[in-house]
């Protein structure tokens, strides 16, 4: 029963207000992509013990999708930010570095 702050309406939302959306920052591969790229886009997911980026929707609230950076083992939340971005913003990455120096996740660090 996580609590995540919705970056749109500012509410500290209970998990019951939220709908999970899996991994964040996936790059869409459509027609013309290779079988391998498309396969990875559909199925290959990170499953880290530690820093992770996820999509959540404030489904029973303002309805907006947002991203959360958190630690899957300790449940620490480093921050949430709007979903309209292809990479974690600098302040989120800095917040993670402050707590987990040397972290890496896909191409981000």
């Amino acid at each position: 029963m996580l609590i995540l702050q919705c970056p749109y309406c500012g509410i500290d939302a209970e998990e019951t207000e939220l709908a999970p959306g899996g991994e964040a920052h996936l790059k869409r591969h459509g027609p013309g992509s290779s079988d391998e790229d498309f396969h990875d886009y559909l199925f290959a997911r990170e499953n880290p013990r530690g820093v992770h980026f996820e999509r959540w929707r404030h489904a029973n609230g303002c309805g907006k999708w947002f991203h959360a950076a958190r630690d899957t083992a300790t449940l620490e939340v480093f921050g949430t930010y709007p979903a309209q971005t292809t990479e974690p913003p600098k302040e989120i990455r800095d917040a993670i570095t402050a707590r987990r120096p040397g972290w890496r996740w896909r191409e981000f660090s």
Partner: protein, 1003 residues
């Protein structure tokens, strides 16, 4: 024998007798008794049978850790199985039944298992009953189900009510013993909001029985004073009969309050589930005494030493008249002293330690109690009750030195902190060598959103077992928790506890230390699951090194025990067998709830009529008053058919289809999803969402569309109408409206966030009525208003206008194959318009029809239904819907996936129609068999039925199905075995059974 004594009994009221029954026998107890103390007061030492061997079992404990005395309580709608007698407060008229025996508690045929116990070793479920395979269903499983298991499942509807309660607090204190009270006080004095949950009806925990002083006064007085102080504080909430059941992520906790279990005549809910958010949680959950593993430690009359003094001091009940006590620590001397003071004969204290104990031992000695050091129990004698013990040297194999006749045995193997709630959300443990127990590791607490620990253990739950240390630890815990969330602790005097000096305990995992195989075979670790020392040793010998595997293989600590009685002793035996240190073996995972909570509390108010919200169309009441046979569709209820007096449901469906095809039908289609998609890029967006091209649709026209997931699978379908250049109205399936709305939002917000598109779900803003059948136009023309002729409003177009003065939007679309108008009116006008259509339509033979008639008519036309022809693995190409897939578009959701090799495989099953040779109706979901069998000996298959109905129009059964190479096999006959032995033969035909050229709908 066990009996009520004349003295003691701090919790009972001797002036208030109570009558109750046990297995139909009338017995007497006192106000304040638990069911367990009352049974003991009546010399009912045998209270149940064990799970596997059906051995006679007595009361072992006095609290939540009791493994044996599980009862079926109450009758009928109030019956509850598996209730602990030790936590059941006695009330007048209580009825209890023991479990796990047949035909009776005294005489049980299952006990034959015990005689065969050498055939039931660890893992016996895995090893036995394997062959022959065919015996499983008919022989093994029914026998095991009869013989094993705990209480019976209630048969009647639960007569009680339950509720949820939401609470938000700064600090939650779980446990109302001296540690919990002191921690709560220290926290509350900072101004923090504090909630304290205590699982029993009494404050103070064990302390009033165990004794000691606080600041010079008896500990009981300290408890009373602290409760009074807390009660007077506005920022403190105190709850008894409320257990902290579980600790979860980010400070979420569940409390389980038992409101009327102790007084069923009280009004209100029986249980209340507290859903708590706390900034910090203090676990002051105390400690549980361990058993000693000697042969016969499960015979009725053998009891935990602390429990025995609880029965004496709290309830004035002597669990025996002549008692032998075995111990490895000083605490058991408290029992010896309490028993002696109550006039009970204490024959021996057998202290496994060669040098014995401290102050308490001296005190017991001075009272004239015989103490034998370095001595142990070799075995307990007796069957349904203890008759004596063989005494031996602890450091030996169990050779008897002396036989002592007695009627009860108290044992103490030391104390284990209750670390369950600390561990639920990931708190780690460290091994304490001195006390031989696991306690919370302060450096590895469960962490919250801020990365800081949010659980603080206090007192005995933190491994502090001496009164003074308990109080100072709890005080520090309260202050620490408050400080961590921004409150300023006041520097105040910490109450000083005082008690006797205690000598170190000595770990004893097997008694005597080198007990023979025969003795180990009768030394129980887990009473409930009948796991013995020898079982764990066998598991280790067979290669089970992981404690989690051993648990599952032996069933140690499973079921309701959850690591209370069985945990540490079992781990220690496993560690010893593996020659590994105990901390390296580790513990099993502690999972919530701490003790079982009722299913009623989990369901709360969500039952019966208010199980879930019910969505009603504007015409719902009319349907209800006119024979609707309701069908749940999503959160809606839709009429399956309108059944008239004297008709069967089937008759009604047949009548509705026939009438619609021949005259005029009305369908309440309001539940269909209606999504407005609007904006400069709306067309571009819908081109991505639908497989076909929507951007080329002209305003005023309608187009049927298919929607796929990015995986390529068909997820929804419906008719799209273009309202104007920037606006589309997308119809979805009834169940799909919210899902497809969310699907659109997801892609708009997360992928194409720069596109100028908005989506609004207006499903409930409009009532929609389908006017269907050859007389449809006649009725609308009679109403008067807009032109509904073929020229003014052709098939697959829509118009806004007025009919009989109603503002309407009319779509010429058809899901039945007939001339059909779907008419949308504002929801508030829906019922009036429906009533008008029925009234004015009477002369044209109007009748409403339900969802089954709708289904039959669409199947006659070969139209697919999402959820029938699709199941999440079907792509549009499987259904012959190539015509609805644009070849001009570069991209749409699912396009790339539909190019993957498995999706283009010519062997994918394809949609066909199926016609039984004899006209009967194929069973839904039936498989078409092929030649040969697969590796499990089952027939190979080559297709399956997706929709099947009796068609009144054709007078025979019709079906649709997915068949291997189906469209290329027209006319072939397939065999579909039914479940009742009958095999159906059906011919592959076109899925369009009726009006193949679509002439009827386009008139």
């Amino acid at each position: 024998m066990s009996a009520r004594i004349a003295t003691q009994g701090r919790l009972i009221d001797r002036s208030k007798p109570i009558t109750f029954t046990f297995n139909g026998k009338r017995l007497h107890g006192l106000q304040g008794d638990t069911l367990a103390s009352a049974l003991l007061a009546n010399d009912q030492m045998l209270v149940g049978r064990s799970y596997k061997y059906h051995r006679p079992r007595g009361i072992l404990a006095s609290g939540a850790e009791e493994p044996n005395a599980l009862m079926g309580l109450g009758e009928g709608g109030k019956f509850e199985p598996n209730q602990r007698a030790t936590t059941t407060e006695l009330y007048d008229g209580l009825t209890a039944r023991s479990q796990n025996h047949w035909p009776s508690l005294e005489f049980d045929v299952g006990q034959v298992n015990a005689a065969l116990s050498r055939f039931f070793p660890a893992g016996f479920y895995y090893k036995t009953f394997m062959w022959p395979k065919s015996f499983w269903e008919k022989v093994y499983e029914p026998v095991i189900r009869q013989a094993a298991g705990l209480g019976a499942v209630p048969k009647e509807r639960d007569a009680d009510t339950y509720e949820y309660f939401y609470a938000f607090t700064d600090i939650l204190v779980i446990g109302g013993g001296v540690a919990g009270l002191q921690a709560a006080k220290a926290a509350a004095q900072t101004g923090a909001k504090v909630l304290v949950l205590e699982q029993t009806p009494h404050w103070g925990g064990r302390a009033p029985v165990d004794g000691g002083t606080v600041d010079g006064e008896p500990v009981e007085a300290f408890v009373e004073r602290t409760v009074a102080e807390l009660s007077a504080m506005e920022n403190v909430t105190l709850r008894t009969r409320a257990m902290g059941a579980g600790v979860y992520d980010h400070g979420y906790a569940l409390g389980y309050e038992r409101l009327t279990d102790h007084a069923p005549l009280l009004a209100g809910p029986r249980h209340r589930l507290w859903r708590i958010r706390a900034k910090r949680i203090i676990t002051a959950t105390g400690a549980i005494e361990r058993t000693l593993s000697f042969a016969g430690n499960d015979i009725p009359g053998v009891m935990l030493a602390s429990a025995m003094r609880d029965y004496v001091v709290n309830y004035g009940v002597a669990p025996g008249q002549r008692v032998v006590i075995a111990t490895n620590n000083d605490d058991a001397y408290r029992t010896a002293i309490a028993l002696k003071q109550a006039g009970i004969e204490v024959l021996r204290v057998l202290d496994a330690r060669n040098s014995g104990g401290g102050d308490l031992m001296r005190q017991a000695h001075e009272m004239g109690i015989r103490i034998d050091c370095g001595r142990a129990i070799a075995r307990v004698k007796g069957a349904k009750r203890v008759t004596g013990v063989s005494v031996c040297a602890h450091d030996g194999e169990g050779g008897a030195l002396e036989e002592v006749a007695c009627d009860a045995v108290a044992m103490s193997g030391g104390w284990s902190p209750v670390v369950h709630l600390w561990s639920h959300c990931g708190g780690k443990l460290i091994w304490d060598e001195t006390q031989a127990h696991f306690r919370p590791d302060p450096n590895r607490p469960p962490t919250g959103a801020d990365g800081e620990g949010f659980v603080v253990p206090a007192g005995a739950a933190n491994g502090e077992l001496m009164l003074d240390a308990v109080l100072s630890d709890a005080d520090a815990a309260g202050k620490l928790a408050a400080k961590a969330i921004g409150f300023k602790p006041k520097r105040g005097k910490v109450p000083q506890g005082a008690g006797p000096e205690e000598a170190p305990m000595m770990p004893v995992w097997l008694m005597p230390a080198r007990a023979t195989t025969a003795l180990r075979n009768k030394a129980f670790l887990d009473y409930q699951n009948d796991v013995k020392v020898s079982d764990v040793q066998l598991a280790a010998q067979e290669g089970y090194e992981s404690v989690e595997h051993t648990k599952r293989y032996t069933t140690l600590g499973m079921a309701t025990d959850q690591g209370k009685i069985a945990n540490i002793n079992g781990l220690a035996i496993l560690a010893d067998s593996l020659n590994a240190p105990i901390p390296q073996v580790g513990t099993t995972t502690f999972r919530p709830p701490y003790t079982p909570i009722s299913m009623g509390a989990i369901a709360g108010e969500a039952r019966g009529e208010i199980f879930q919200p019910l969505r009603r169309t504007p015409m719902h009441d009319w349907h209800d008053e006119n024979g609707a046979d309701w069908e749940p569709v999503g959160h809606w209820r839709r009429p399956y058919a309108y059944v008239r007096p004297g008709e069967s449901v089937h008759d009604a469906v047949m009548r509705e289809v026939k009438n619609t095809r021949e005259k005029l039908g009305l369908l309440d289609a309001s539940t269909l999803g209606k999504l407005i998609v609007k904006g400069r890029d709306a067309g571009k967006f819908l081109d991505m969402l639908y497989t076909n091209m929507m951007s080329t649709l002209k305003p005023g026209k309608c187009r049927y569309g298919l929607m796929c997931s990015e995986n390529g699978f068909l997820i929804d379908d419906g008719v799209v109408a273009r309202i104007d250049e920037d606006t589309f109205l997308c119809h979805t399936t009834t169940g799909g409206a919210d899902r497809i709305h969310a699907h659109m939002e997801e892609w708009l917000q997360c992928e194409w966030w720069d596109w100028q598109v908005y989506v609004a779900n207006v499903t409930e803003q409009f009532a929609q009525i389908a006017v269907v059948g050859p007389n449809a136009r006649k009725l609308l023309e009679k109403l008067g208003g807009m032109d509904v002729s073929k020229d003014a409003l052709p098939f697959m177009e829509w118009r806004d206008g007025q009919l009989a003065g109603f503002d309407v939007r009319v779509y010429r679309i058809s899901f039945s194959g007939e001339l059909s108008y779907e008419i949308a009116v504002p929801a508030c006008r829906g019922r009036a318009f429906w009533d008008l259509l029925l009234k004015e339509g009477a002369e044209f033979g109007v009748m409403p029809y339900g969802t089954e008639a709708l289904h039959i008519m669409r199947a006659e036309k070969g139209f697919i239904m999402i959820g029938d022809e699709t199941d999440g693995t079907v792509i549009p190409q499987d259904l012959g819907l190539h015509w609805a897939i644009s070849k001009k578009k570069d991209d749409y959701l699912g396009k790339r996936a539909q190019q993957r090799s498995h999706m283009t495989d010519p062997n994918r099953w394809k949609l066909v129609g199926l016609e039984t040779l004899d006209g009967s109706v194929l069973p839904d979901g039936a498989y078409a068999v092929a030649e040969g069998v697969n590796e499990n000996g089952q027939r190979n298959v080559q297709g399956r039925v997706t929709s099947t109905y009796f068609s009144p129009t054709l007078g025979r059964g019709i079906a649709m199905g997915l068949v291997l190479h189906g469209p290329d096999r027209m006319g072939e006959v397939l065999e579909f075995p039914g479940t009742d032995g009958k095999a159906f033969k059906a011919k592959i035909v076109s899925p369009v059974f009726y009006d193949k050229d679509g002439e009827k709908q386009n008139v």
